[in-house]
Amino acid sequence: MGIDVEQCYHRFGSMVIRRCQQLLGDEQAAVDAAQDVFLELVRHQSRLEDRGLSSLLWRTATNTCLNRLRSRRRRPEDADGDVITRIALAPEAEERVLAGLVLERLFGREPASTRTMAVMLLVDRMTLEEVAELHGLSVSGVRHRIRVLKQRIPELEGL
């Protein structure tokens, strides 16, 4: 068990940076966020295995960027028409009073972020089945989770 983080960077580093740039828009901000993603990898490297790493990194990068967008613009009324920003500012289905546990959830047994699922559905154009597979959930589980976001993100209606 355990992964080689440098090898992982060679293989997936540019994918992570690109993903962050796609969501944050700026290359320097993307590299900064990507370093946070790899920091999580370093912190949990002994518990991780090579299988499924790309999914884990994709989810973590998405989540990290959403959190950054959320910190940048805290109030829902700050959101413009950009669906990524609206998702970032929307409430989590399972949001806790104590913030900052989202990445822990991704690496642990806690459920994944609903906002991340919404980005995959609306921005990545993944199907419900693909999002479910990526998160180890059932399709109905994904549907159930995104229900809470539908008030804020009308684009989710009909999924």
Binding site: Q35, F38, L98, E130
Partner: protein, 245 residues
């Protein structure tokens, strides 16, 4: 199969697909000019990122972050331990006639909100702990350099209680750790008592903070609508219906 999504195309470029899936995805890409263009764009961007951000400097940056985080964690833990010890002693020694705010010690670090249960544990409670109606709790907080603060609680009925400032509207803090002199008895409001500490670098509008806390879509979880430079720290006590566990 479904049309390959961006993540699948990224995995294709990274060589992460199993042989059979790779074959199917490649066939789809070759048959679709848009997909082909996306894959070519990924390959170009890939080459750019590899040139611009080689592994070593990137990972050196990650290691620096890790060292900083460790330092902060150690500092944060030390602050909490110092606070807990200092406040427990101060809590026991605080005379009934003490001023509203007692400055216990000056410690730097992250802001912290501590809740002690009177007559029970010496250690502060952890957020999410279970308490019962009738329990008395003592509140303390470390503003970590923020000169202004408001402390309030919201209960399971959505009622807001202001703890600091107790009187008037002056949100200025003394500059060190703050221990409120009066303990607070939990009433029979159901489900939870959520304490919210709001810290700012400019004077805070108490009425606006109370109004924000009174108008939460989910009083247990929602963030308060605060000025951008204000910091919010939460502490949740879950309520049992009977006596303390």
């Amino acid at each position: 199969m479904n049309r390959p999504n961006l993540f699948t195309l990224e995995r294709l470029v990274a060589g992460d697909l199993a042989a059979e899936e790779e074959r199917v995805v490649l066939a789809a890409v070759r048959a679709d000019p848009d997909l082909l263009a996306t894959v070519e764009a990924i390959r170009e961007a890939d080459a750019h990122v590899r040139r611009r951000w080689p592994a070593r400097p990137f990972l050196d940056g990650v290691e620096r972050r890790q060292r900083r985080r460790r330092t902060r964690a150690i500092g944060g833990a030390a602050v909490v331990v110092a606070l807990a010890a200092g406040l427990f002693l101060a809590f026991r020694a605080t005379p009934p006639s003490a001023p509203e705010i007692a400055e216990v010690t000056r410690v730097k670090g992250d802001p912290a909100l501590l809740v002690f249960r009177e007559g029970r544990e010496a250690a502060p409670l952890t957020s999410g702990a279970v308490a019962a109606p009738g329990d008395r709790v003592q509140l303390a907080f470390e503003p970590a350099g923020h000169p202004y603060g408001v402390l309030l609680s919201v209960d399971g009925r959505g009622s807001v209680t202001l703890h600091h400032p107790r009187a008037g509207r002056d949100t200025r803090l003394g500059g060190g750790t703050v221990l409120l002199d009066r303990s607070f008895e939990l009433d029979d409001a159901p489900t939870f008592e959520r304490f919210v500490l709001v810290l700012g670098d400019a004077p805070l509008d108490v009425d606006a903070v109370v109004a924000a806390a009174s108008d939460l879509p989910d009083p247990m979880r929602s963030s308060l609508d605060l000025p951008d430079d204000a910091e919010q720290i939460d502490f949740l006590l879950r309520k049992s219906t009977s006596g303390s566990p």
